[in-house]
Subunit: 357 residues, 4 copies
């Protein structure tokens, strides 16, 4: 039997419906750089799904997450400004310094299981402007958060409302990294819709790479025409422009044509919660109480080692003396049979431990 994988959510290609559209249209000739009809259609679908005002809003398709963050953040910041983020934020930790490479500092806020708190944002901004030497410091010019966070946690509607209010009371835009947004939207604990996101955030992206596509992120900017003009050359400067732009339009078209995106999210979350329940039922510690597709447990090293013959998953931080924290990730493509095999292995292991021969 092959090993099964819960390392991350970008281990497969694209959903078969997406692949089919690529194959069907493969030999058609279209113009490049997103000027084709497929791209226009897909933008229209997302505009509709997010209830955007087409007179003001813009949707842009980029290829990957880091380039999307670096492009949008660079576009939204002035020279003297930095971007506030949780110290665990992806842009602060895992983007090879792409934000700084475009000239901007990441201003770190305390992370609460990946989330930032509105009053801590407020205090940061107030403290900044209260400091007499603030012009010698980097001004907070944008708030970056991720939904769900890098720790699988979710902002509630009211938390997002608070963050949005704090930001806007200081004329600071709010930008939401939605690399795994499908897995937030599909969570039983989620109470925020896409149209609501579009009223709370000044920009966010709908991640395709981690949910059903070969690649692709849809940047939604509700007031894009005024907030992010001249975005096209910025995209090109940041290496985020795809020559055959229709590949993005085709893929996002498939994802948003009939709710596929939401079904894929639901699939992954359901399986993730099944894994969570199995570990909890067998007495293991849930490290972070996540209701999205990433699950974190503190497990005995011996169990980790035994499970590793069956499945791969990530060590989250350094290996401990006796126990370590691990992460299991499901995706749109995870097979229920694989999840069941994992769960059975956890159960068997427990029973053998309880009833050693």
């Amino acid at each position: 039997m092959n090993q099964i994988h819960f390392d991350t959510d970008y281990m497969e290609g694209a959903h078969p419906d997406v692949m089919q559209r690529l194959v069907e249209s493969n030999l058609e000739q279209t113009t490049g750089y997103g000027t084709d009809l497929y791209t226009q259609q897909a933008k229209g679908l997302i505009m509709e799904t997010c209830c955007l005002d087409p007179e003001r809003a813009e949707v842009h398709f980029l290829v990957g997450g880091t380039q999307t963050n670096s492009t949008v953040i660079d576009g939204l910041l002035h020279h003297h400004e930095g971007v506030m983020a949780a110290e665990t934020g992806h842009i602060n930790v895992h983007e090879s310094g792409a934000i700084e490479a475009s000239g901007h500092k990441v201003l770190t806020l305390p992370s609460h299981q990946g989330k930032v708190l509105a009053h801590e944002v407020e205090r940061y901004v107030n403290d900044f402007y209260r400091d007499e030497t603030y012009e010698h410091m980097v001004a907070p010019g944008l708030l970056y958060i991720s939904q769900p966070t890098e720790y699988g946690t979710l902002y509630t509607f009211s938390e997002l409302q608070e963050l949005s209010d704090v930001c806007h009371s200081h004329d600071i835009p709010l930008y939401i990294d939605g690399a795994r947004l499908a897995y937030a939207l599909a969570s039983p604990r989620n109470d925020v819709t896409l149209p609501q996101l579009a009223t709370l955030a000044d920009a966010f992206y709908i991640g395709g790479t981690k949910c059903g596509l070969l690649f692709g992120e849809a940047v939604v900017v509700p007031r894009g025409k005024e907030l992010l003009p001249h975005f096209f050359p910025l995209v090109k400067q940041h290496g985020a422009l795809l020559a055959k732009g229709r590949l993005l339009g085709l893929q996002f078209g498939a994802l948003f044509a009939d709710g596929l995106y939401f079904r894929l999210g639901a699939h992954a979350v359901a399986l993730a919660l099944k894994i969570k329940a199995a570990f909890a039922d067998n007495g293991y510690t849930v490290y972070i109480d996540s209701y999205t597709n990433q699950q974190f447990f503190r497990l005995p090293n011996a169990l980790i080692d035994r499970l590793s013959s069956l499945a791969t998953f990530e060590l989250w931080g350094p290996r401990g003396e006796e126990q370590s924290v691990v992460r299991f990730v499901t995706s749109w493509a995870t097979r229920e049979a694989d999840v069941d095999a994992l769960i059975q292995a956890v159960r068997n292991d427990k029973e053998e431990g309880d009833n050693p021969k």
Copy 2:
């Protein structure tokens, strides 16, 4: 009948063999960022095809041309250096300032139908260092050329040898943009092989986007281990890292498994030359004597207008009073029937002109 298109060479998806590999492997699980086996295999194939020394060489897969240029050039230059290029070079004209956005000046040399001359490079470098104030100027730190050039022209082996010699006598690397390299290699006038390129250039890339792939450029660095260490984070900073890196490996694997790349190039060039012959035979002016997949003619505006109902193609520069220069581009995917239809239209037009009713 549908319009046929000769605008450019990135209007279709990927060669069917490439698509098939993507479809077949679609639901396999692999690790990300090019750490998978498909990527390793494809790199091996390219290493072999280019006769590289695996102890010293590196092959990297990036997504698109502009990001490849901006990443490689940034990696090869020191802070105080700029990159020499023909004033018509893609990096100087059509990359939205991506080179400058990463801090480097493009130092322009005269363009001779897209080519630079070795003695003009030599003079530029000598003049630079002879100037007493050179430390106040931008040092020539790299030579960028494209093969074929943006005008469809080709460097001969001996021209490349001269450029390589001039560069290396000044410790300046030579970098070749091979966005359309397939169409150079397949040209009847070409006398440079891939292994030879790898001895002449310090870095070059084999363009996939414009020859058979959905996207993808293979950067070849014969002495990459010493010349471009720490390339991975640079790729990520420049927005050029693909999460599902295997998509690049799979595609280049298909392209180089059994010579598909060379056959695709030959197909496009043969059709381009057929178009060229047809225009010439009917008495029209060949604007640039190209033997690759881009063909340039000076045509009467009336003919341009009549052909435009059948086919699209690019105006090259502004429309003239009576005549204008146009560009026809073929690709790996161009149908011979479309070329024949174009040629027939040119002939018919001529005959009607010669024998008006």
Copy 3:
């Protein structure tokens, strides 16, 4: 006898009145970074001299020319924009790539003895936006000119008016490098006053380094409060902020207190024209018909060699076979006796040549 020097105009320290103010105030304690009273006073003097509207205008003191250019240009450009300049412009040639280091391309226009022509600017901008692929190119976002130019030539009021009109009809700011502005203002051929400059240009600087100060450039931005907000941190990022900012205020205060700046300019120009007349009177070729403090002649190499024992001056370009172009520069500090010695040497040389012993 010591050699005398006409190499350039930053070979001495500061005018004695300026030095005296620095010495007198030396042990006073003031707050830093330009928050002191001397700085406020000097800004007020310049506001007055330029007839600026204090409600809208800003004056900033920076240390040197390259950093001033790189800071102002970076502040005035958006990410996707470059700065138009004559190909001989200082920012294109002699600033070590500082403009590109801050991410922007220098878009070159033809140089007419250092000047750009309004209709060529117009054409450049129009051609740019007429090109269908313009979003892949660098947008002209600013026009940089220098007054006087690097070749000592002057824009007339009507030429500046035309340039200003062309720029503003395209919403492009006009920025004037005034490193040697004193020597333009004092020229007998000048017909542009400082208050006029302030209505024509969106930003310009009054160079102190080359006219009377140890260092210092006064950036004048007539609508600075809206056009260049948050300039302070930008100045600091560009290395252009002086801790003891009062040194700039004190110096510019001395320069503008009673017209010293204009007298210093007049002194240098008068002596430059004296040199020009002497060479012309003795039959030598004036290479550029300059009426400012830089004078260019084409001289026999033999004369150059003989004069070199008396004085230093710059070879302008490579040494020719028999004749070469040379530059003589006067400054606020040039001694009339030195000029007379030079002129006498030219005359004697001529006479000896005419009447060889």
Copy 4:
């Protein structure tokens, strides 16, 4: 009576000996950009004072602290690297994002009264390379520390030795910000000489702005010829090049000709310790046990208010409910009479409090 000032150490001009040299040489003509003899002499003096090997070492004169940090750090880092610093480090807090503006992340380490600990540096570097995803993160490529720190504290020789060893065992250069180095060297608790610094650090600077000069920082790079080649254009790009470079040479020449630099440091430290003793003797809390020219106390707000009529000094952080932390800074120019007046005021205040009328 005028108010006296203990806000900071850059409130006055230059030491009279320095001013005298500037005045004496004022009308001499020299070539620019540091090519003059005064600059060569001053570099020689510093080479000697630091016992540098002239075959390998370089000394560079820059204008100010932030530009020095941003230039040296940019020069020492590769693209993918960031600079480690205490979270309280000047580059992380008070340089308007100049480090990030040149593309590099500041990687923060815990601050121990401004200092970093060798084992925490070691752990940071080890943790980094142990992380399997480290290529997605910013590599620690340099260690920045300041001596004395922003909190007036000092690294001992053995602490520096440890830091240097940790760095070099990982091929990471050590860079020391010496903006206030004079006040470290003159401290009774200091056990590190300039020649020792030059063996421990890969680069450091001797701050002139805060100790005796109008402006100027001397960058010392013991192996500069190999470690920081092509430094000149980098200096210019970073806005740190002074046209009249001799002004730096003249000033540093005066500072190092006969030990003036060390006497100035000693003067400031003696007066700072006198202030420290006075507050301590009167029962007030020394907030940081500093032996350099910055002294920090936690004082009753009432005392702060009363002293403020006599003297200015900085609130260090926000004003507390009853007590606040304040900073008193002495400099090379502080008058003993001013210090005595302050001390007398503290004593009187105490006595009046003890014996209210």
